[in-house]
Symmetry: C2
Subunit: 336 residues, 2 copies
Amino acid sequence: MKIAIVGASGAVGQELLNVLGTRGLHIDELRLFGSARSAGRVYRFANNDIIVKELTHNADDFADIDFAFVSAGAATSREYADTITARGAIMIDNSSAFRLCDDVPLVVPEVNGPDALNAPRRIIANPNCTTIQMVVALKPIHDISPVTRVHVATYQAASGAGAAAMQELIDQHADIAAGKEPTVQRFAHQLAFNVIPHIDVFADDDYTREELKMLHETRKIMHSPDIAVSATCVRVPVMRAHSEAIWAETERAISPDEARTAFAAAPGVELIDDPAANKYPMPLDLAGCDPVYVGRIRPDLANDRGITFWTVSDQIRKGAALNAVQIAEYIIAHRS
Amino acid sequence: MKIAIVGASGAVGQELLNVLGTRGLHIDELRLFGSARSAGRVYRFANNDIIVKELTHNADDFADIDFAFVSAGAATSREYADTITARGAIMIDNSSAFRLCDDVPLVVPEVNGPDALNAPRRIIANPNCTTIQMVVALKPIHDISPVTRVHVATYQAASGAGAAAMQELIDQHADIAAGKEPTVQRFAHQLAFNVIPHIDVFADDDYTREELKMLHETRKIMHSPDIAVSATCVRVPVMRAHSEAIWAETERAISPDEARTAFAAAPGVELIDDPAANKYPMPLDLAGCDPVYVGRIRPDLANDRGITFWTVSDQIRKGAALNAVQIAEYIIAHRS
């Protein structure tokens, strides 16, 4: 198996190196690509030093590559997709560039794995982190009775804005502790000791694009064009792992116990739901972990056909790198 | 006007001193009470040094007092209510002790001020901070068309757990910046770089009491026994000022513009809703301010009769001390 990573120096690129090193994929060759600024950096993988090469329009760079994991922003994905896929590589794209294109599958293996097997442009899109986490948790509910609408409030970690943003949050806290004025560059406002109800740019109906992704991507992944999702996406001063408070309405009422049983059996989900012992998922505990954790399961007191729960998942791992690798694994396991 | 504060050394007691110093109440005498531990402390008010006296069952301590602001926990309120009110004082209680008693009004002046004029036990309850903030924002919507149900996710500051909890959050960040293990005492888990979906104790249906307060107190304050509220209450690493993501369903659909106009005209509400300029309410900016700030107003994409918005308000100020003082002001202005 020959693998390429585009955007190797970023937070997701680095996590791809971690994930690829611990999963079952047999990797014969790994090629790393990045911007001119990143080119020349060296990363260790499977006892080899690999030098990051500058991404150019030379399609030969991707000759013989089976899977190219691309995580360098939507503009880069759009500009280089033809180059990356020209020689037969399947591009698994972490950006929003192609997610809603009809001829590009948008895949979370636990939810719609088979969609990955039909990728006419050899591009498969990895959904937005907040959506991945939500649909993995919604799927076992949806399988009992179709989900009709969702309200969701997110508590998103600094990691979603990249490695430099995580460092900025640490630096802000260090500056404040030292009595200095914190620097604000990566977010619209100071994040330390604050929450910011604004992720990505504002779009239709005064929703942010991040919030609208949770509507449109969920519909596509779940093959449910009528599912209604209203999201409020909020950045919180947490390093890694996003949290979400979710209310889901189903066609018929589902009890918390029914939901708990379904969550416990669902692939990719782990239950932490023992309020009596003060146990519920929290981002500080779960950074670097693979599953989507679910807890605080209870009836929706404002909807007879509703259920509410709380999820936490590592944004860089299941929300990005791990899901991308799982897409490749799914294709390898299922292609004829 | 003679005023007493019980719990003068706490976060709310201290804010009561601030608020009383800046409002129009003419105060002839101010008496401060506290636990044995706080007794003897001296606080400055209107150019006088006032010594905190230990709270006992001596009703003479409250002779001639017009209003006693009590903020020392539910157990203290229950134990000392008779003593405090025996000589005619009106007790404005910040605890949860009496909030749902039929013979105790639960008052947010902007919403149900007249209820304060009928207090047969001379006890008036100040609602929970998260509820105050929410009902001030719901009222102008409710006045256009009755609110039928609410989903709300909170982002609650450390201040809600008192002054020592605020210090613990600062100390945790200082310890982490210095490479030391942070101390956890005031919350169930480390709050720095974390969010904790657990405030107050767990109760019916695996909801916390904090979450159920938002249901039951809202029904009582809004005189709407059928309004349905499902809340998820979450502690975030913010010092002061709570934030809430609210979805409200009304009997007839209300447009965002209609809501915006109503918010702009509503007492106690201030609009900050200019996404194009990155302007929306944030807790870091609004600590120490009086209003309930509202922004991110938009249609609920999961409910044709729904609207969604974001509120921020200082938990110690409008969420506690200010609302209590406003109750006294309302009574003074309206009693015959």
